[in-house]
Symmetry: C2
């Protein structure tokens, strides 16, 4: 009985990932529930402790309690630990899974990974994990130093160093948590080049995924990038550039957001708000005061999110690129989806379409559930749900006004969003047995 349970768990890596996350969140909830974790010295309600722990472990950043003022240093360090374990741990595990998981990965996929990593053996795996962790820590440390230096202008040295470390780790892990207080995020620094540029670099590097980082570092030696890296970099670049342009145009004359800023500050704010949905969730403008068109545009950017095997969420940039390729191929009447003069396997395109559809279904279902219990405008609900599912952490202000039911829905979404709906399905679904027979092909007319 016990042995068969163990086999049930270890027999499936997706299941292990899911249970691992659940365990981390449970420990986090217990620690955050301690009186020592709150400034008031009182125990936090279970639902809010669970909400915060889930948000931190799933690197989302939606909060029902202000991180900067509700929690003590101990509480904040628990949150930071959850972020580091959730973000970096997931990144490592995703890379490892992709590397040596044989059942769900094709030989071809392992070959690209081996190509990217130049590793094959058990020794290679150890080196791989070490490499992921070293990359992450070096980037986080660099970010922490730069941010600390900047914060020294505004606060005491001890505080500046702590703020530098906390926000560097939070940004690189795309966690969306900040300890600025009063849910301000980076709004006090909307026009500050240093804070914005360092933050954006941390967010983008964390969101590219380890394989691309590794590929970029090797580029000096190899002078070539894998197709995967090309697609990730091109899509990320396009989304950031196009996103900033749209936000700049939509918000230029909005007196509640950008209009009071100087031209350079406007540009900075446009880029910051364009980078944040990939999926850092910090914001330097007040999201609730943006125009409706911008808010909806942010929903679309959040839905796409970051890249595979990164600290970010969403359907992923490669999925988005495959979709665009599929639409172009369909319209042009071609059979092959082509990116950078390479053809994608049909099953890969199919997977992209399915992930998108599954994600959309979950988002729409959750939005409908919330619209039955939360008395707010539809877009505010859709924004919150997408933000939770893509583990972004931006909000139009709904998080603070959620009912108990609403909090539970958002917790579940953050969890599924982080694990990935397809991985979640694998984890819960039955193990596919050997295929004994196939049904005959039937014909229906589509569209």
């Amino acid at each position: 009985m016990f042995a068969s349970s163990l086999r049930w768990i270890y027999g499936s890596p997706p299941r292990l990932l899911m249970l691992g996350f659940a365990a981390i969140i449970a420990v986090g909830t217990l620690l955050l529930g301690l009186p020592a974790a709150t400034v008031a010295g009182e125990t936090t309600s279970v639902i809010d402790a669970l909400f915060t722990a889930t948000s931190a472990a799933c690197v989302t950043g939606l909060v029902t309690l202000d991180t900067g003022t509700h929690w003590t240093l101990f509480g904040q360090l628990v949150i930071l630990a959850l972020i580091q374990v959730g973000g970096l741990g997931f990144m490592t595990m995703a890379t490892l899974f992709a590397f040596f998981l044989k059942r769900r990965i094709s030989l071809r996929e392992r070959l690209i990974l081996q190509e990217a990593l130049n590793q094959t053996s058990m020794e290679g795996i150890v080196r791989l994990v070490r490499r992921v962790i070293v990359y992450a820590l070096v980037i986080e440390l660099t970010g922490a130093i730069l941010l600390s230096v900047r914060f020294l202008l505004d606060m005491s040295p001890g505080r500046a160093i702590y703020y530098g470390i906390f926000h560097s780790v939070s940004f690189f892990n795309n966690a969306g948590f900040d300890i600025m207080g009063q849910y301000r995020s980076l709004t006090d620094y909307a026009g500050d080049p240093a804070v914005n540029i360092v933050s954006m670099l941390l967010i983008v590097l964390g969101g590219l995924g380890f394989i691309v980082l590794s590929d970029l570092i090797d580029w000096r030696r190899t002078r070539r990038l894998t197709l995967h890296s090309k697609v990730v970099l091109a899509t990320t670049g396009f989304l950031i550039g196009f996103g900033a342009l749209v936000i700049f145009v939509f918000e230029y004359t909005n007196s509640a957001s950008m209009q009071p800023l100087g031209f350079g500050e406007k540009l900075l704010a446009a880029f910051m708000q364009s980078v944040a949905p990939r999926t850092a969730g910090v914001n330097s403008l007040d999201i609730a005061s943006l125009r409706q068109a911008t808010q909806f545009f942010l929903v679309l950017l959040m839905f796409v999110g970051a890249s595979p095997g990164s600290t970010g969420g969403g359907i992923k940039t490669t999925t988005f690129a495959a979709l665009i390729g599929a639409v172009i191929a369909m319209i042009r009447g071609k059979d092959d989806v082509v990116l950078f003069r390479y053809r994608l396997a049909q099953e890969r395109v199919y997977k992209a379409l399915t992930i998108t559809l599954l994600s959309l279904t979950l988002i729409l279902l959750a939005t409908m559930l919330l619209s039955a219990t939360e008395d707010h405008h539809f877009l505010k609900l859709l924004f919150e749900v997408t933000s939770a599912f893509s583990t972004v952490g931006m909000t139009m202000g709904l998080t603070l006004e959620l009912t108990m039911f609403g909090k539970i829905v958002i917790i579940v979404l953050m969890f599924i969003g982080r694990i990935g709906p397809l991985t979640m399905g694998y984890a819960l679904g039955r193990k596919p047995g050997r295929v004994l027979f196939r049904y005959a092909e039937g014909k229906i007319i589509i569209g």
Copy 2:
């Protein structure tokens, strides 16, 4: 030059369909622009005449002018002619295309159609067209008689007969137009069993598509249905039943909609509002006063819409069924999408996914455009856009408040929605040449 233009047009049936629709709309716009068409005896503005003609020819039913009071009998007959040509004409052409179009249809597809129709030769085509038209006219006539008898209780015989004919044609063609006046649609008859049941039957029969109708009529003889018909009937039944249940539950206590009605009337209203998004667009409850959750649920129902080769729009019931099958297969880790113990070809599933994605992209893009120019709540915009694209015709009241830009967006959406985004793509895209080479397969990590 002229000859090559002609070849460009006739070389592609989708292009012919598109240009045919454009020509019908142009003629309709001219006729509706005549002073004789309006009660006031004045000429209607080009944009409103174009809007009305497009809405009628694309059997949508969104109107910027009240059909019952703005237009004279002549104007209303022009609208009715546009509906009949647009709805029945499209149904016939879609069936014909599916029947003898060789380039875009696989041998397998033609075989099912032949199986469904038992026709093969040119003589068969003539008989097929006749059969489509006879079916439609018999159903429309029966509906007109039943509705006229009911309307006799409320109005003079001449008026009752005219109302019976107009609404029977409008409902069977899923056109969404009514001449009740003051944009009332069927709200005066919310609790009337005769009007509701006849209307629902007309809407559903028109929305099943000719192949299914034909299959159903042959059923008495053959005692078997094609897979296509099974999928259409099961999905349609599910959507109507489940839709009515959700609407009933959500609106039961809403004092602005169902709460004042008796129990039987509540049921009737729930079913009417569940059937209307498939895609008749009549309504017996005021859509603007429904709860937000119900309104969003209607958006989802409208998005799915009716069945292929019918008078209705949307992504279609078979597409929806294929999507559900794909999600189930993916989660269960199976390769085959299975419906009624038949496997769907991968390319069919792929087409379903692409149509859905393309439709969603257009709806989201249009909603974002409107949210930049129309100062209304997001859901109201999303509702209108989906209604236009799926040629439904329900509205939360936005149609009457559209800016000039907004009207143009909605006109374009109705047109693309009726032609179908994929067909539209074929019509405008280049003709695929012979495939001379394929790119090598490349690998990216999805999701």
